[in-house]
Structure formats: structure tokens, C-alpha cells
């Protein structure tokens, strides 16, 4: 797939008076599907609103922070992630069957979907371009340590890396290690420290 950098010059939503080919194509499609009664534009607006304002990595960050603070919740999360995450209200599309994998000093987890771009929408929202890129999908399973280096992450050679290729409807969330010197932070403050990439496994926290 074309990387974003290649598209940047012509695909951004600037104040261009001319529409891109894809803009015209998608407008024609949406108009047609609306005329046919297959879609309701108000529903389209609501779907966009949901993923722009409600569902995103802040959901996953809440899950992680709670697991860092509450051992019982962490145990539940590692045993039955779908139920534990649902208890915080995060359920549904592209998060129907969740598994949480825990990073330790010996083991680092990283998530990919080599066949398409499966991603845990309920806790992370829509995936970033790099996650969907050919470079990440091809290399994450072959040379994960070098991919981590692209993200500026350097792990000791003795740290085992386990890459989870999301080939079914199971969606994976990485439970990163709690950063040092955060004992005094509240759960809400901890949640702010959790990055999206840490929950994919391409960052440490």
C-alpha cells in the first residue's frame, strides 16, 4: 500500500477547489447508496462521530491503568479479557474476542495482522497508517527487533519478543510494563501515560 508520505501532497483535506479522484468516487458511491436506501447518511455521520470522538486509545489506556493498580482486575484481564474489558463498557465491533498479553522483563509482546490490518478497535480505535503499511505487516514477523528500532525502541538481546499475528477474530492488546517512579500517580494519571503504541507493542509505555 502507498505510504502516507507518498500521498501527503495531494490527499490532505486542504482548501483545494479540485476534488481528488477518490473524493469524487466516494461521494458518488455514498450518493448512490443513499438513493437506493441501503444507507442513511445520518447513520454514516454517527459512525464517524463514534470513532472520532468516543472510541480510541484512551479506552485501552483505562484498561491498562486499572490493571496496573488493581491486581484482581489484572488477573481477570489476563484470564478473560473480553469480559474484563466489557466491564468498563468497551465492547463490540473489532473487539468481540479479546486477549491481553503481558510484557515482563523477559518477554516483550507485539501485535500485527499480516493478512489485512485487524486491530482492536474497541480499545484502540482505528489503526494508524503505519500499522496498515506493507512495511510493518511484512517485517513485524520476520525481524521484529529491527522494526522496534524503527520506533526507537531498543530491547536487550536477551529479551524474548513474541509477535501475535491476528489471523482470526481474536484481537490482541499488549499490557505494557508500568513505568518506574509512578507509584504516586492515580489511575487517571497513569492512564495518561499509556500510549497507543505501547498497547500495540511498538513502544514501552
Amino acid at each position: 500500500m502507498a505510504s502516507h508520505s507518498q500521498e501527503h501532497d495531494h490527499d490532505h483535506d486542504h482548501d483545494h477547489s479540485t476534488l481528488s479522484e477518490m473524493d469524487i468516487r466516494v461521494r458518488a458511491l455514498e450518493t448512490l447508496l443513499t438513493q437506493k436506501g441501503y444507507i442513511d447518511p445520518a447513520a454514516i455521520d454517527r459512525i464517524i462521530e463514534t470513532y472520532e470522538t468516543e472510541v480510541g486509545p484512551h479506552n485501552g489506556a483505562q484498561v491498562v491503568a486499572k490493571a496496573w493498580v488493581e491486581p484482581d482486575f489484572k488477573a481477570w484481564l489476563l484470564k478473560d479479557a473480553t469480559a474484563a474489558i466489557a466491564s468498563l463498557g468497551f465492547t463490540g465491533r473489532q473487539g468481540e474476542h479479546m486477549v491481553v498479553v503481558e510484557n515482563t522483563p523477559e518477554l516483550h509482546n507485539m501485535v500485527v495482522c499480516t493478512l489485512c490490518s485487524c486491530y482492536p478497535w474497541t480499545v484502540l480505535g482505528l489503526p494508524p497508517v503505519w500499522y496498515k503499511s506493507a512495511a510493518y505487516r511484512s517485517r513485524a514477523v520476520l525481524e521484529p527487533r529491527k522494526v522496534l528500532a524503527d520506533f526507537g525502541v531498543s530491547l536487550p538481546e536477551s529479551t524474548r519478543i513474541r509477535v501475535w499475528d491476528s489471523t482470526a477474530e481474536v484481537r490482541y492488546l499488549v499490557l505494557p510494563r508500568r513505568p518506574a517512579n509512578t507509584e504516586n500517580l492515580s489511575q487517571a494519571e497513569l492512564a495518561k501515560r499509556v500510549t497507543r503504541d505501547a498497547m500495540i507493542g511498538t513502544a514501552l509505555a
Binding site: M1, A2, H4, S5, E7, H8, D11, D13, S20, M22, D23, R25, V26, R27, A28, E30, T31, L32, L33, K36, Y38, I39, D40, A43, I44, D45, R46, I47, I48, T50, Y51, T91, G92, R93, H97, V99, T114, L115, C116, P128, V129, W130, A135, R139, V141, E143, P144, R145, D150, F151, S158, I161, R162, V163, W164, D165, T167, A168, E169, V170
Partner: protein, 224 residues
């Protein structure tokens, strides 16, 4: 299908380019493309595996040169055309000239939230006992089906170990055998299998790497 979408282990795509402060969408049309594709799933005219199959079946050069949402839209057009839900001329003109076909559901602003919150779970009851247990060694079959499959090429023929048993799940290869409803919905045990990096990538590869895939039972065979 041994398509270009099956990217695990391919080389030559360069470094992973990470955009700082990346926006959720990079163009207005991407927003609409995402939501239209999600909404059309409710029509019940295809299932998730037929949708993936349509994306994988785009011409290889188109797939590789298209952005993610462009792939979605091109595949959605193919799904609609194949079922007679739209015509090519209608797509080009963005104007209806043929009546619609009946669909299962049209999402409204009122029903969207519940639909997204429910999702489409693929776990199903399954009667026969699981053939494999956690800790057991299995071989990913050397298989090359011409249709949709979720067994990536890079594990085929290799021996791994079962680390999780997920229960019964809808089997994608069989889920795509009928293109229109009522769909064929076969169920198989689903497992997570871990492979040593050295097994997949050779003795000179990183010794401290493991890769897991989720694999349905018929993708696997016992190691004797």
C-alpha cells in the same frame, strides 16, 4: 489464495514510516469511506470473510498501490456489483437508474450505537471435542487453497506448539463458499499456535523471537 495481501516475511517494503501526531483520517473521503463500508456490512449481503476475500482479490498491482481505505472502497464496489445491488454505470454517475435489492438491515442514527456495541462475534458452540491441547506440537499444513484462507504462507509446513484453545469459531475458508445469503457457516476449533523464529526464518535469524498465529483446526495436523 497466495495473494499479495499475505505479506508476512516479504522483503523490500523499506522501513516503517511513523507519522507523528497522525490525524485519524488523511482526507475527507476517508471518513466517509470508513463509515459507508461499516454501514453496508449491515445489509447482510456478505459477511466479513467475503469482504476480506473481495479486498484480497483486487488485482495485485492495485492492492499494492492503494491506500487502506481505497482498498476498502474498491472491494465494496466489487461486492455491490457482484450482487446486482448497483451497476457500473450507476457507480460512475452516482445516480440510481435501477431499483434496489432488498437488504437485511439499514442502520439509522438510532440503531448505529447498538450495532457497533454488539459487533459480530464469531464464537459458536461446537460438538466434537478439540483434536489438540495446549502444549501439543502441531504442523501447519502445506496447503494452497485458491479461495479465501487465513493461514499465512510463512507458517505453512512448519511445526509449532498450541498455546491457547479458543473454542469454536466460524471457519473463514468455508464462510466464503456461498457468496450470498444464506451463508455457509461452518464452525471449527480455533487455536493459537506459537512458532520459534528460527523454525520460520532459519538458523541465522534472531534466536529470541517467537510468532503466533490463530489457526483453525483443519489448518493443523498432529506431529507424529
Amino acid at each position: 489464495m497466495n495473494g499479495v495481501h499475505d505479506m508476512g516475511g516479504q522483503q523490500g517494503f523499506g522501513p516503517v514510516h511513523v507519522e507523528q501526531n497522525e490525524p485519524l483520517f488523511h482526507a475527507g473521503w476517508e471518513r466517509r469511506a470508513m463509515a459507508v463500508t461499516v454501514a453496508m456490512g449491515a445489509s447482510g449481503q456478505w459477511n466479513i470473510d467475503l469482504s476480506r476475500s473481495a479486498r484480497e482479490s483486487l488485482p495485485p498491482a492495485v492492492y499494492l498501490s492503494s491506500s487502506y481505505y481505497e482498498i476498502w472502497i474498491r472491494a465494496l464496489e466489487q461486492l455491490l456489483l457482484a450482487r446486482g445491488m448497483v451497476t457500473q454505470a450507476e457507480l460512475v454517475n452516482g445516480q440510481m437508474t435501477h431499483p434496489p435489492v432488498p437488504v437485511k438491515q439499514v442502520l439509522t442514527r438510532e440503531t448505529v450505537d447498538a450495532a457497533l456495541k454488539a459487533g459480530s462475534p464469531t464464537a459458536r458452540p461446537i460438538d466434537p471435542p478439540a483434536l489438540f491441547q495446549v502444549g501439543q506440537e502441531v504442523r501447519a499444513r502445506n496447503m494452497h487453497p485458491p479461495g479465501h484462507t487465513r493461514l499465512p504462507r510463512y507458517v505453512r509446513g512448519h511445526v509449532g506448539t498450541i498455546v491457547r484453545v479458543h473454542g469454536g469459531h466460524v471457519f473463514p475458508d468455508g464462510h466464503t463458499l456461498r457468496a450470498t445469503p444464506p451463508f455457509n457457516v461452518p464452525v471449527q476449533w480455533l487455536y493459537t499456535v506459537v512458532f520459534k523464529g528460527n523454525t520460520l526464518w532459519g538458523e541465522h535469524s534472531d534466536p529470541n523471537v517467537e510468532v503466533t498465529v490463530d489457526a483453525w483446526e483443519s489448518y493443523l495436523e498432529a506431529v507424529t
